[in-house]
């Protein structure tokens, strides 16, 4: 689950971390009152969207007056923000953050995340703030410091000093940096963050360190205990994805034209891979799970067929726990309910496969049967090319 910048900053502020004064607005007409309330006179309007690289895409703009802020906000709210990360389709901006300007002397980078290989959280620090960390990692890896806190222990003074030294911070700044690091680590742990990235952390003239921008992702498995974060687990999903998840289906919409229904995440990915390998494009990732009901399978069908891009459907089920006859009944119910006109390729294998195949055969529906995953992918791809 991703948090918007304004949500993230509210959490950081609550933890007494230094963030500039700011206020979140969803309507341009609210801007004058918001600025008056906070006393902000000059600053930046920042588009709230789940993407980096906002600045270059026109998602961060300076203002010197209330009118200017209002007019920028009215342009930004509702606009499609297209950045390097969003792809050409972009993301819609629903609100903006009005933030006090900072007088920046130096910019740093910090991130807290899981190092999977070391099975330990890692704190990444770099003096090259404001840049893309992937670029720094590739071109000047020596300019990134990795600190590994001991799990279950408070952050040690040694790590704090190492971090401050790496950034060349001394005296009051060093002390403040240590406090920031400790508090951030606390926020990272307490809120089950999977990523807490501060870019940049700035040293402002006469004001010490401040967090200008941050990216805050929460572990999807921990969302149940993070209601206080203010995040919405569905914020990034499409309507179809939200509906699918309410039936226990794991659905991700993609760009191609072959709709997929598969059991198991690994097999679902492998099915997409096979489609691509034989020259097709998958329209979606859909894992019906290990114990889906007939109803869920029928629903999965409905979701796939409601995608206008889909020209053919490939069902690939390895029935272990989930029995092939259950799947067969679900497929037939789905085909009938959606009055399916599209070609349908089905590969069934595993528990009760013979019964499943018989049910499909006797249904009288026009279903193309496949012997294995490759056969299914080939048939789905060739059906589409024949129809063109």
């Amino acid at each position: 689950m991703k948090l918007y910048e304004y949500q993230s900053k509210a959490l950081l502020k609550k933890a007494t971390l230094p963030v500039p004064a700011s206020i979140h607005v969803s309507k341009a007409s609210d801007v004058p009152a918001a600025l008056k309330q906070t006393g902000i006179k000059t600053g930046v309007v920042k588009a709230q969207a789940f993407t980096g690289g906002r600045g270059k895409a026109g998602g961060v703009k300076f203002f010197r007056s209330v009118d200017e802020a209002k007019s920028i906000a009215s342009e930004m709210i509702g606009m499609k923000l297209v950045t390097k990360q969003t792809g050409p389709e972009g993301v819609t901006v629903n609100s903006v953050l009005l933030e006090e300007a900072s007088n920046i002397e130096r910019e740093f980078y910090m991130a807290l995340l899981l190092d999977r290989s070391k099975v330990n959280p890692v704190i990444m620090i770099s003096p090259d703030g404001g840049m893309e960390i992937e670029v720094v990692a590739e071109k000047t890896p020596e300019r990134i410091l990795r600190l590994y806190p001991e799990i279950g222990q408070p952050l040690s003074d040694k790590l704090k000093k190492e971090g401050a030294d790496f950034l060349g911070l001394t005296g009051e700044n060093e002390k403040q940096f240590g406090e920031i690091l400790q508090k951030l680590y606390g926020v990272y742990t307490e809120y089950d963050a999977s990523l807490l990235e501060i870019n940049p952390l700035v040293l402002a003239k006469d004001k010490g360190l401040a967090i200008l921008d941050c990216k805050f992702d929460i572990d999807d498995n921990a969302v149940f205990r993070q209601a206080e974060s203010g995040g919405n687990p569905n914020a990034e999903k499409t309507e179809a994805e939200i509906e699918a998840s309410s039936y226990g289906l794991n659905y991700i919409s993609l760009q191609g034209n072959i709709g997929c229904m598969v059991n198991g995440a690994g097999l679902a990915m492998a099915t997409m891979d096979s489609i691509k390998y034989y020259g097709g494009e998958p329209a979606n990732f859909l894992d019906v799970g290990g114990s889906a009901s007939e109803e869920a399978v029928a629903k999965a069908f409905e979701i796939i067929t409601s995608d206008a891009k889909v020209e053919c459907i490939l069902v690939n089920i390895f029935g272990g726990i989930m029995q092939c006859d259950t799947i067969a009944h679900g497929i037939i119910a789905g085909v009938k309910k959606s009055e399916l006109k599209l070609p349908l390729v089905v590969r069934l294998e595993g528990t009760n496969v013979e019964i499943g195949k018989k049910i499909i055969q006797e249904s009288g529906l026009n279903i193309i049967s496949a012997t294995d995953l490759d056969d299914g992918a080939k048939k789905a791809v060739s059906v589409i090319s024949k129809n063109k």
Binding site: G264, M269, G320
Partner: protein
């Protein structure tokens, strides 16, 4: 021989009274596993489907000599259940539960460093030693006793590999699902080391997916430590960056972790990488033939 589970396995189920827990405990018993009971503190002293229910893992171990536990406890409490099993001296803990928070698993991982317990999973299908014992949720009937060791991050792809080797007549020694979560117990390297040491295992199938560096590290390990033929398949070549593909750990974030980087690392280590999941069994046969001169499967004319 085989690895991890065998005829000496004495299994208990934590969360035996739940629907899935009970169903799969019965399936394990039907497969031939020696199931000695289950744990649910609220139903201690009762019996379900012939399985005695104990109040704690400690009590179950004292009364039955259990050495293996299968965890079906819901995600919120599963971390504590794993720690309880370790404290009671359980040697092998197989965590089936999906959706355990990473922070909980980090604490578990840290805790297990000081214990003698081995963890498999979570979010995994478990371990099956063909025709001997099964601990987990894999469909038993697809396995046949044979000579291939399977290690995989994905459940249904484990079944694909197992079934393909069953049909080709190669069969399996043991199939191990290590799970799809970013923080887990045994990893590819641990299991591959066991297969390399197991005299009955003649070939190894490694199934990986996008996310993390497990497969890249396994490739390095294989290069200098494994003499047996290894076949691999990596799922997720078409997965878009930054999207979590079902499994919590199946996400490409930052550089590396892509299917292409894993395939490259494995091929550089001399591993035979299947292009599609349907081809895993066949490529295992090619690997056996080229590296040992014999395969003896019944799929290919050349092998017989």
């Amino acid at each position: 021989m085989s690895i991890l589970v065998n005829k000496h396995t004495k299994l208990i189920t934590q969360g035996i009274t739940g629907k899935a827990g009970l169903f799969h405990t019965m399936q394990c018993r039907d497969y031939g596993t020696n199931v000695v009971g289950g744990v649910n503190p609220k139903k201690a002293g009762t019996e379900v489907e012939g399985f005695p229910v104990f109040g704690s893992v400690k009590e179950a171990v004292e009364k039955t000599g259990a050495n293996t536990s299968m965890v079906f406890v819901p995600a919120h409490f599963a971390g504590k259940a794993i720690v309880e099993a370790a404290d009671a001296g359980i040697e092998l803990i197989v965590a089936i539960t999906e959706g355990i928070p990473v922070r909980d698993m980090l604490n578990v991982h840290q805790y297990l460093k000081g214990s003698n317990s081995t963890l498999i999973g979570p979010n995994c299908p478990g371990v099956t030693t063909a025709d001997v014992a099964k601990v987990g949720i894999a469909p038993g009937f697809i396995h046949r006793k044979g000579k291939i060791g399977v290690v995989s991050r994905s459940g249904t792809l484990t079944y694909e590999a197992v079934y393909q080797t069953t049909r080709s007549g190669l069969g399996q020694t043991t199939a191990v699902g290590i799970g799809g979560d970013p923080v887990h117990g045994l990893n590819h390297i641990d299991v591959i080391r066991m297969f390399e040491e197991d005299p009955e295992t003649e070939g190894i199938i490694l199934i990986g997916e996008i996310g993390g560096k497990d497969e890249e590290q396994a490739a390095e390990y294989i290069k200098s430590n494994v003499t047996k033929p290894v076949t691999a398949f990596i799922a997720g070549a078409t997965a878009p960056k930054g999207k979590r593909m079902g499994h919590a750990g199946a996400i490409i974030s930052g550089p590396g972790g892509t299917a292409a980087s894993k395939v490259k690392a494995l091929e550089n280590a001399g591993v035979y990488v299947a292009k599609t999941a349907a081809d895993i069994g066949h490529i295992m046969c090619v690997a056996l033939r080229e590296q040992t001169g014999r395969c003896q499967c019944n799929n290919d004319e050349e092998c017989r």
